[in-house]
Symmetry: D2
Subunit: 345 residues, 4 copies
Amino acid sequence: MKAAIVGATGYGGAELIRILQQHPEVTLQSYHSSSYKGDSMADRYPHFQAVSEENLEGIDPEQIARDADVVFMATPSGVSSELVPAFIKEGARVIDLSGDFRLKDTRQYEQWYKKKAPAGTVLESAVYGLTEWLETDVTETQLVSNPGCYPTAALLGLAPLVKNQIIDPHSIIIDAKTGVSGAGKNPTSVTHFTEMSDNLKVYKVLEHQHTPEIEQVLAGWNSNTGPVTFGTHLVPMIRGIMTTIYADAPEGITAAKLSDLYKESYKDSYFVRVRDQGTYPGTKEVYGSNFCDVSLALDERTNRIMIVSVIDNLVKGASGQAVQNMNRMFGIDEKAGLAFAPVYP
Amino acid sequence: MKAAIVGATGYGGAELIRILQQHPEVTLQSYHSSSYKGDSMADRYPHFQAVSEENLEGIDPEQIARDADVVFMATPSGVSSELVPAFIKEGARVIDLSGDFRLKDTRQYEQWYKKKAPAGTVLESAVYGLTEWLETDVTETQLVSNPGCYPTAALLGLAPLVKNQIIDPHSIIIDAKTGVSGAGKNPTSVTHFTEMSDNLKVYKVLEHQHTPEIEQVLAGWNSNTGPVTFGTHLVPMIRGIMTTIYADAPEGITAAKLSDLYKESYKDSYFVRVRDQGTYPGTKEVYGSNFCDVSLALDERTNRIMIVSVIDNLVKGASGQAVQNMNRMFGIDEKAGLAFAPVYP
Amino acid sequence: MKAAIVGATGYGGAELIRILQQHPEVTLQSYHSSSYKGDSMADRYPHFQAVSEENLEGIDPEQIARDADVVFMATPSGVSSELVPAFIKEGARVIDLSGDFRLKDTRQYEQWYKKKAPAGTVLESAVYGLTEWLETDVTETQLVSNPGCYPTAALLGLAPLVKNQIIDPHSIIIDAKTGVSGAGKNPTSVTHFTEMSDNLKVYKVLEHQHTPEIEQVLAGWNSNTGPVTFGTHLVPMIRGIMTTIYADAPEGITAAKLSDLYKESYKDSYFVRVRDQGTYPGTKEVYGSNFCDVSLALDERTNRIMIVSVIDNLVKGASGQAVQNMNRMFGIDEKAGLAFAPVYP
Amino acid sequence: MKAAIVGATGYGGAELIRILQQHPEVTLQSYHSSSYKGDSMADRYPHFQAVSEENLEGIDPEQIARDADVVFMATPSGVSSELVPAFIKEGARVIDLSGDFRLKDTRQYEQWYKKKAPAGTVLESAVYGLTEWLETDVTETQLVSNPGCYPTAALLGLAPLVKNQIIDPHSIIIDAKTGVSGAGKNPTSVTHFTEMSDNLKVYKVLEHQHTPEIEQVLAGWNSNTGPVTFGTHLVPMIRGIMTTIYADAPEGITAAKLSDLYKESYKDSYFVRVRDQGTYPGTKEVYGSNFCDVSLALDERTNRIMIVSVIDNLVKGASGQAVQNMNRMFGIDEKAGLAFAPVYP
């Protein structure tokens, strides 16, 4: 397969290159950027010297669609909604890493993203790519909308309980923590080293745009879902997301039953590792890898379930899952090119 | 006043020295350690060279009580319960930084601390020293039990809502995050730099010994209190605690009313800074200082209140609050020796 | 004394406020900023809430000189050279933290700073304020030029050897490492958390503007001084500078003689702590304090001396030394307001 | 090829597994540990769950030699010297990551390592495995001694200048900085997170056991080599080594000539990336990869050359280079299994 990456100079694009340059079935065909056309990737990222020195090209959907079998859109929200329809029209198969094609309700999109929603028909055709819980066979799908980093961690943590109607979705509280790479490559005062190091911050309090994405998926799994409380924090680390999720436990549940349910739910999912009862993951245990590690605890004193899930936000939370979706779209082993171990320590 | 520090070589003891050596009303009389008797503080902590080079002495309660006006016990849990009664008997005025005299219910202590509880009469006499919400005048008190770091942050965040019966305590979920200095000075595999840096961990899941301390205080404020859910995380930073607290909002509450309530509740408390509506603190904004910063948000979508409170775990969460309590015990300005600004950045 | 701070919103200005708000002899009279006039310091730095909430004023040299006894210029290089002459003309006593009045040779300034040098007469009148080695009594001095952070660490490390003509200055190689706060408050791609964390960078290779400052002072101490090699590195930490200095050892020197020389040289200097032979400082041992810790080693195998000196770049390397200079200018104890201990850990 | 790893539970062993589990020509045959026999790798390192769950076996050289084509000794210094001879006797091909077989002069070994040197014949047979500068064809070699992390960075940086007799080796000063993973997996007070974070330390001052290793190799390249000055620092980062090297420049050299020399010297070395003149690497640009990036500067003011080289201490500085040596020993492409990109950011 020949792959093109549009928006290659952000962290998502760079991580796609890191992964795909080792993928046994993929040739990196071309990189595209509107801002840095003509530069090489090694100009933008010296660590790519010798690995990937191709020059960045401009964005010509017709030509890209003709030359590549799959197009990754690593473009920001608001840009994908502009570009993707042209690629779709040219017949390209597209995986979009932005938030633009995730929310089916365009009012929700406009309310949370403060941007104009994408056109209806393309949006309707997009399949939400939470790979372990895909709603449809994607081998013929033209557009996969790759999930957000937080939703990936939260939804993989919640799926067995919500899909099996074990918890009341109204009781869900998600306390989420992310490494700073989630904020992207552009320097800001919030992510300045001296301000962020040895610091823990809350941000976008109750206003994070991933909230409706989580709610939309939960509602698809349990129509009784209402709004969820979603708190977001910036942790002084580069990569990693942890979601700590609290929900009311039903009568009669036990920690052992919960553990069994999760082990069973994910027994065929290589990338979701349900940890043994009583053990809990740190984010570094998935660092640089496509794994999502999940643990559960039952607080018998308060009758609440606590779920802990961790991912690398740039891999399973973005580019790794995008490649996993590509593997599914092209009918190859979902592990292809993704079976590398976490980098530890 | 002449102060003695027992257990001077841990982080709590060292922080007491840092604070007290600048206190206008205090002379540091003596340091005591059972393990490092004869060493100087500068042997244990080279940063104290020129600042505090006195030799560590052994622990002789009779002599210490005779020579000092106030004794700080910076000893670990299990050690204070052994030592404090001797100091009390000798007539010393004591501030104990350990967890030994916080829980009035000795079964609770033994269940959560896995240690033998201290003797009844001394325990009964101990006043819990959450300075802003002291239950009694402490100018005659002989023993103040200094609060834990997490309870300080959580309780200062919850007090106005619980004391005024605005929220149902059963709905409280506390998601707490601490810097690594909370784990103390002894190296462990969990706190090894390579394991902890760029990592976020959950630990002591639903088993943290500060849980019953929080519940005991809340129950004193609202007899309807039951168990609370308390999740604890280790963040790759040296100092700082953030508690993110979720609770059901009552009918008719507004963000403005909440903000007014907190501003009013803490208007005479120099060390609790209620942040303006819509602004939220990072832990670094209290780094090295005795401040606790508190913010609130009302999630109208889910009808929940979210409270964010931050402290420096070694200052307001330990040694700073101990000095604040000393100031109260001796009838001097609670700010004396504590009005230093946070170290930022 | 009443102090005014011009350029209060950078890290140097904020650190001056942190220090001076506790200084027993100083009242903070006013803060000045051309960019943020009308804002309060707590708007710019929320950690100053309750500590220092005064509004920033514009810069009117005449009024400032009239109202304040001492003016701290925490303005960037290029700005001080514009502003200081006006303050001098109004009779103000000024401590300038920028690089503008450090180099007596204006061609050197223009070559290394790439800016226009300040006017001659004011420049000539400026006393270089390496406090421990002041060339003149400054009790009548109107303008003190505060040293750069790197020169402070390097020169305090080198002084006893160079002033006593023990080493050949031509053999000096300074390998310097700084925390990221030295790069200031403005976010850049180099100091973006994700780029800087878990990373070690060289920067301004052989082009750092502190090079001629070091050489100028060394030449004053030993006229045989030529250019020195000065390598500069960015370390993923907030505060701290370490200079590791190598120089050829003379015949007959011993480690014990070196140690004695340094102990003797600094026996009256509270803020320079010569470490015992065989022990070496980490930057954290001076964190937040005005200390400079110095160690020496003699490499008998290669006949070279290795000097290690550490400071907090924002304190002894900037605002702390500025206050120390103020104390000297006004004839008070140089420790006044500066005897706080390092923040550790 | 079937590979066995002896001493699999240290960081070197874990990194070998991370690399080899993706190597196209290698099957991981068995892991061995004297301390953790019977545990699985996922017990020791939860991040290996699903990746590598085999149980650790004891150390039986006869059986290991029979079952494996290549044996990696990731054992500590002092242990390898005991074990390797038995493997050699059984006919195994061995790559030893410890320091035990690097120094040909046993007195040097005993002086710097404070341990008994290994037996003579095996020591004599060991080939020093600085892969880019191997002295002999290793396709028949039975024992390769893998270089130390610091020597790898320093020697790759120095080779073109020393081998071509361009600099006087007596003038070499190496100022080296390492991430904390170089200190291994065992927690110590020096590497405790709270002590190491936001801190920069010198350590083993002028006593680092890698000093004679560097000197031995330099002496092989230029018989005029004497002792070199080697300063070592601990930087608050997980992975990465930077060596900043200073040496006197010869008459007539130019920066362009130096650059050409290095580009030419390494034109066939995939893993050594000579950076373009005027650009310098940070350690993160090789993070997690087998690259060594090298830059040069000529200080015309002082007539010194400054070389900057960076590696990941656990990859090119240990396990990656070991695999590169294995590739050479078995006559396959040296890039096999090692062409993964750095993890960035």
